[in-house]
Amino acid sequence: MSLSISDLSIGYDGVAILDDINFNINSGSYLCIVGENGTGKSTLLKTISNLHKPIFGDISFGVSRREIGYLSQQTAVQKDFPATVSEIVATGTLSKGKWYRPFYSKQEKELISWAIEKTNITDIRDKCFRELSGGQQRRVLLARALVGAKNFIILDEPTTGLDPAATKDFYELLEKLNRNDGITIIMVTHDVESAIRYATHVLHLQSDDYFFGTLGEYSQLRKGGADE
């Protein structure tokens, strides 16, 4: 078991927006979280990622949090940040590095190179982050997530602001990581049609309810809904 959510209740200031969430996913799964605006997708992801306190319930990973990669939504600070691609990717190793070691070890440097290759950003590794395109920036942040976690990655709307081609590239990269490298993926997304194609499971949030199931079950449900 890779992630197990039980009796989870999420919300703000003690007021729940979603109650009694229960689901499990195994390692190697690819879970897409979808739903209308304001149904709590981001809140759920933040709660899972330890950025927001749950009102009630348990979230347990099969591994330590330090084994998890996280790709946040782009912040304003990052947009014009003067840092090279490799400087940013390198910070992915910090979750495992000892606090009293001031430099990156040889092993960590190899890991950084590995992630840079995996995400096809080798040719821009010495470039400045703020001079990259949106799609390239997203790959850099994915590389950073990969460095810290070779087997579990959480992403919050990673393709916002990307054009269709860059979006497709990004999804295909994620699919490869999932299929070939067995990396578990949890992703919040807006574009249901193109994103869930790659998923193994879908969590569909509604205003006070949710659906959780495999991609097949979800497609069946949607087809059924359309026939009615």
Binding site: R65, S72, Q78, G148
Partner: protein, 279 residues
Amino acid sequence: MTALELLRFPFVQYALIVSALMAVCASLIGVPLVLKRYSFMGFGLSNVAFMGMAFAIVIDATNSLAIVMPLTVAATILLIGFGNRFKKISGDASLAMITVGSLAIGHFAINTFSMRGNITADVSETLFGGMRLLTLQMPDVWQSIALTAAVIFFFAFFYRRIFAITFDVDFMQATGQRPLIYELLLSAITGVVIAMSMNLLGSLLTASLIIFPALSAMRLFKSYKTVVIFAAIAAATCSLLGILVSILFELPVTTTIILMNITLFLVLLAVDTLRKILV
């Protein structure tokens, strides 16, 4: 008198050493502040330090740092360390209130309770510095050497974490690290530097040293490491030049240093803009 002859005077030597060292400290803490969009924080916190200094003047404290330091460090930790975690009042509003409020309270306290004769001189010196910088003693020099050594050690040792909390706190939190520890540590050091710098250089120069070198460096350099190193070098150079120029031409010392920093920024801005147009 030439610049070389000036260097023979101990008071000039002290001023050069102390201002260059404080410039290095202030510009180092300035880089993460500016990048986190806390540029104005430097000014707000210098004003808090001003208020502390005013209290020290009122009670005629022998060691004003004993009051300025804890006050400034506490304000820094509250504003920067915890600032984005407890958003009851927006960061922008609380900063504005603190900037204006501490200036007013400080001025009020000096004017109302101070037993000393020349109030205007006290206020002017605390805000704009100058006299203090040209009348430094050996202990002041040792103090700034110790502070600079500590700040440089902190930056070198925690360089990767400082970078990480500047770039993305959420990532650290989500991957099971403890960014709050490093944020608190950095803001404590920021508070110490601002208090010391305000005591030696006045609050306006302190605020300038936090923003201008960092902004200048960001115009020219593309990696975090080079930005940090260049900011420190640029700040120290502007201070050294500023002091020599101001003594030679009888100009006000702290504002001359600030104008040096502004000039450097404008030149680099022009270079950067030209480069973008030409390429």
